[in-house]
Symmetry: D4
Subunit: 255 residues, 8 copies
């Protein structure tokens, strides 16, 4: 403790870093960043840009880099990405920024960030091209948690041969995330053919009654094969739980 | 016309029969029976017992037999079946009554009823045992309209091998009705594998969010393979439209 | 097989064409095109632009032309139409493109495309001018499947004389698609007057409670005359099933 | 005032009667009866039995007879009817009780009750037998308000000839109440054919999506012909407003 | 008949006018105009611009003027108003156009239009400034049908003194339309204080649960005082039924 | 601590009492009773019988008496009341049990229970007789928390004079709970006339659209006068918060 | 009275001021301003800009300043703010305008406005940065009513240590407003730890099923700890009721 | 194969057993039993009694025992349990039947059944007594799949100390199932405190808006800490996926 305070006094440690180490969270201009979340829950704190102004998000992202050498931001639109890039260019010019338009995710790694690796395989399966956004959000989190990631795309049930052709690849994963919109039947069908944990990720395409992912969500919740589910378009949530399962396997394998 | 009135005067024709022939419908104690519906729309008038008292339904059924030599009643519970049987025992003791508990249908044939036959095949496919009720209601109508009926039961997508094993039988039908509850994925998957018209029939099993057939209905409406749909548990509607398609095939074949 | 591989080696057959012939589907940059769907299900594969970026849709459309000499795209907005036109101008300059604004459909025919024809009549009936979009989408698919198409427009039940005046034309069709918004009563009324299969197509006009087509959809599902239904604005689905029924009639007539 | 108090003192006027005359309402054991409602709003106060215990309803009914020489009770089940009959037998043995099972209404007239009459015609139209309950509730109120009532039953749109046959009768009414369940299309169609005020009364039959009268209600609210609407099964409300319109006609005619 | 055809031959009568007179409706480029609706139902045909392109609406409006010397258009946005004005400037330069922004209505009177007048009073009551749009739409129709119109604005229940101060004015009307958003309590309260027919018009303000007029609609449908209701923002519907009631009173008074 | 353990060893203190004092909660056969809730949150722990078996509820009630000398149980049906009475007769024969049918509440006081009193007035206002259940549940909690309770019943807005007559009584309370079903307008109207905190309590009467209290809830949430709200029929919740406000006033007054 | 009329005649009092003093409300160009609401209900009249045109809102704001020396406007977008500023610059150039973007509130104080003060503490607690808008709206009203305000931000349950660290501050308030979106668990958890009145304020963030604040609202209504609730984003309502409770404390303390 | 057929011929193997071994499923009187599901998906086939008649369920249960030496049945009411017991007493008198009322599960083990064991810990956490049913259903499946099960009951967030006291036990599990009704906040709070996979199980208690588990489901789907979710009361689904995760751990540990 004394050591830490001496570092602050000496200017070697910022106030935010010191607060994060002592309290578990750091206080910035626009909110608190739960820096201890990664070690406490196994899932790094992620900043949800939706519902915040671009400036608020940028400020939180900088605070994240300041205290944990990394920031993961989801639901990033163009003005928010620009605000983050401006802010980082000033505060942390040496950091690398990776912004993916289709999945609306943005990841920042500080220069001394040390990426984790897990000895476990996560497969992300999609029914079609329209599922690319939420599947990409899930992929980002899975990768940031260190699991080995395999993408198995465009195997929707309208042409079931496409799925059968990739069944062995599905079976060889430790855990599967299966993204589908419209009627969302893919996770139901696939769960009847594999023996690994499977998380259904409903996607907000489709129109009319049951549109915006509601049919997919309710179909997955009613699935005649047992699967767990996350909210519509909740790629982060699916990825984080798949990452936790992968983390457990990694630990079990290294026992 | 004069002839008809003379028959009434002579007591050879009841008032109801005469009214049905002149106006297209007959008026009983509790409502009108649309006796001309069969010839006008190709689908015989069916009496929906739900929402009527047992006595009202029995009265309508007797009126139907009186004017068309047949009565088809759906959603028949036990008190209604008893009321019909009582009424018929008095009014038309020679008629045959066929009441099926599981599908809640009741069919009466008068002694001179001449059943139609169509040169066309209707297949009724079910996902599981719980779909027996609505599928049975559909089967009743299809049979009464005269089509050749094939049942293909218990081929839900949880174990897709069961479906694959019966695919050729499905493909050989002229039209398919596919009944499924829970997530209702079976019609979607099957429609990607056959090239005949397919009517999805959602069934009201399942619980929680999307229960009571809502997930099945919305999934079928959102299906990534094109199918038509009827309301939850609407076996009669599915059967009647399949019967109309069969009727068209019959005509086309006899051209 | 050997022949096919020799064609690829000789550059006479593209990799996509060969893959489509062997596996049933072809893999492009942004997804797989189910080239075998037409022969397997009787309905050509259709690309739904909604939920895809303009570039993804354009890439899929080019792949469709490459493997089946035709592309059918629905829910096409202006940027997507432009992206497709750009792409085709480069890849298949000899193809003809037919883009209809009101129905948001776009059809491409390659130079060697041989359009199918079916000996069967499909009628598309609308209640009013506001139903033009979904009715047009249905018309496109019906035509592409080769059926003979008749439009019977603007016969909503508010002035029932308009409907009565065209009843014989309705009765002479092999199958009817009936599009209506607001309370959606037209298919219910018409189905009580004709003896051919009838598919209700609810349209998303109307406002307030039951708006956006929900009243029309629920009214058609509850119809006191038996009809099948598709989702709100699902012109493609209605057209594809009408096309399948027409296809069956065509086969039956040519037996 | 003094006179009134003298009557109370003399036992010629009950406390309840006196309170009703002074304050406009009377206070019983279980609530207040708004005795002045009839003169204030033109619609007599009606007791809704649903949500009250049989004893509470019986107590209110007695209070109504006490202060206005009449009680009108809706949604009366068997135990409630029995409780009212018991109570009245003791308190007002000379009153006449009219309880209708199908419409769940109960009307009590005290010996000195003087029924109103209006010079105006109210027509109540039903689509089918299942609409008898709410239509009967409406009929009770219309009659109690004194209008001349005509029933036009069983003219649903599935067989539109039944409606056309009774069109002139419909046109000759001053105001129409049109009851329908399922898709509820009858008021929409009828309002396009008559030029009198028309109130749609949705009925809670039908099942699945849009069941329990929801499709009928939303269809009537979306109707492409302008009509006003009351809640599902709200026969009393429809009857009361039709009665108020009839009352206006009566006044206008007697001007 | 011969006379009419001679007029067409002589160019004195357009084809549209002749068709309207013979068939009851006229066919333009984009739909049919139900010219006979006014005489058949008492309510003039109104063109709903929502769901039509500006050009379609303009074409229908011109057809309306051509056959009935008047056009009434609702839900008119700026591009539609411009399209109508352009069209009319060419086709009927002598017509007067009255476009009201707040209520999104547009009325055209041809030079020989003869406005109707009814001996009856319609009151339109609003809870607040936000109800101006739908109330204005109702006012337009009431006026075009010829009733005498009184506006009673800004008397919402939050400050009930404002309502009490105008109660006599409300009571002196023949029929009331009462517009309210949010919780929509005004028609309920007012209907307990007046003895004339009352139509509730729910307005789509308010946010969160029950927003967009849903709380107002459901509250009016549940009202403990009996009122009829129209859909959310359905000013035209409320006005047309109020107009029909006024029309009946006018007839009764002139008897 | 030592003292407490000695009491247990001596049999003077039950294990449950000791656990409750040490941990804040006591563990019985079927769950834990949060004995410290009263002192921690100001609201005594209440046992919700719904969702528990009669035996589970009875066991929890006995545990409550054991540790806090009182039990308050809500949503008590007849079998549950019987089970509690049986259990208490054995375990705590000296306790008094107060079971109110209409509000489904049951309160047990042990012989040494010392009831709290607060110097603050809570008014409970109801629109009609049907609101008696939830209003009674609220009254029970308010009384058990010690506030002075005033009931102001049957003042619904259908006859607004009844409300005006009792306005001064309403204004003299420190806080009001206002219960109403159907359209639930009473709290909105009353909140425009008083200057004390007001909690809306929607009641599950009413039928059709917005029935079961949904219209009342959404109307109160949308109220044009500011009020807070609790869930449908949540009398306990309304009473507990009114009690907390009363508790604050009591403290402020005794400062 | 005479005095007041003399002031008007002398031009010392505007017509609006005189009307407000006599009738309780003042009539402007676009509506009535309930000037007496503050004294009648304890909560100043607030102008809701949503649903009004910018000009209507500006006119109402000027009328408010004219009659009560203050205007409070909520849901103010940029065009509305500009319209108000323009209007005030002309009509009341000496007034101060305070417009807060994040909470969309605008407050105007005339030069002679005398702000109230209450001896009571209101705490506003937020789960995260996304709750800033509605929390800010609540804060504006609380301040304008004169209570002492404390903000306790960013203490959501995902990292419960942040909440525990500020528990004593929460406990020391007289009343709490707790704003949360997503699943809205914060008020439930906090209400189990404090003994002061607590108002839950659900916030419209979150997406998919239960998005737009619906999960937060329903969770707060179902809370296993008793809390009162306001509508989604209804900061004004929460603030006004907290202010009324504070006002009661102030009175109690000054007794 | 030949061997198998010889066994059938010799009567050593029933037809059902032979079919199950060859086709993967066995056909009984009322449906097919997917005997291969356990080896194919890792989760044994479970019979859902809801939607089946008691006789159908009993027949399926006997078929399950016949082919896999075990039957697991969920949603078992009393008549169904009786039918199964009758059937088993005749067909498999040596089998043991374990029927749990509270969770409505019934498990049958044949005499030669060899229970699996997994080296992995599954914790099932409940908020309160009302969650016992679904939690028990989950426990049954987890046990039947062979995982080590720990119950952590009655730790709802209303008294958060109860949860904190058991946090280490929660953290030591390999995977958690967390059951909660009402607002369902427990899984959200717990997921912020542990670093193992967590499955939320919403329970259908609660009433009013968000009742029947809807608030719990939507709150878990919106949770600000990432969790996966199953449908309301879907104990089997939660247990099966937890079992699959446990199975993965078991494999990883034995590598």
């Amino acid at each position: 403790m004394r050591e830490l305070l001496e570092s602050v006094a000496a200017g070697e440690l910022s106030i935010e870093q010191a607060e994060a180490e002592l309290a578990g969270y750091a206080t910035g201009e626009t909110g608190r960043f739960d820096a201890a979340r990664g070690s406490r829950t196994g899932v790094p704190e992620v900043i949800l840009a939706a519902g915040k102004t671009p400036e608020e998000t940028a400020s939180m992202a900088a605070l994240a880099v300041e205290t944990t050498d990394r920031a993961i931001v989801t639901r990033v639109d163009s003005p928010t990405a620009a605000a983050i890039e401006d802010r980082l260019a000033q505060a942390h010019p040496e950091a690398t920024i990776d912004h993916t338009d289709r999945s609306e995710t943005l990841v920042i790694h500080g220069p001394s960030f040390d990426p984790p690796t897990l000895d476990a395989d996560v497969g992300i399966v999609t029914a079609g091209t329209s599922d690319a956004g939420p599947a990409g959000e899930a992929a980002t989190i899975v990768s940031e948690m260190g699991a080995h990631l395999t993408r198995i795309d465009d195997v929707g049930v309208a042409g079931i041969a496409r799925l059968i052709d990739r069944l062995e690849l599905c079976r060889s994963q430790d855990v599967l995330i299966v993204a589908a919109g419209r009627e969302g039947a893919l996770p139901t069908v696939l769960a009847g053919l594999v023996d690994v944990p499977l998380i259904g990720l409903p996607v907000s395409n489709g129109y009319g009654y049951g549109g915006d992912g509601r049919a997919a969500l309710s179909g997955m919740l009613q699935s005649c094969t047992p699967i767990t589910v996350v909210n519509i378009d909740a790629g982060f949530t699916a990825g984080a739980q798949a990452g936790l399962i992968a983390r457990g396997f990694d630990t079990a394998r290294s026992d």
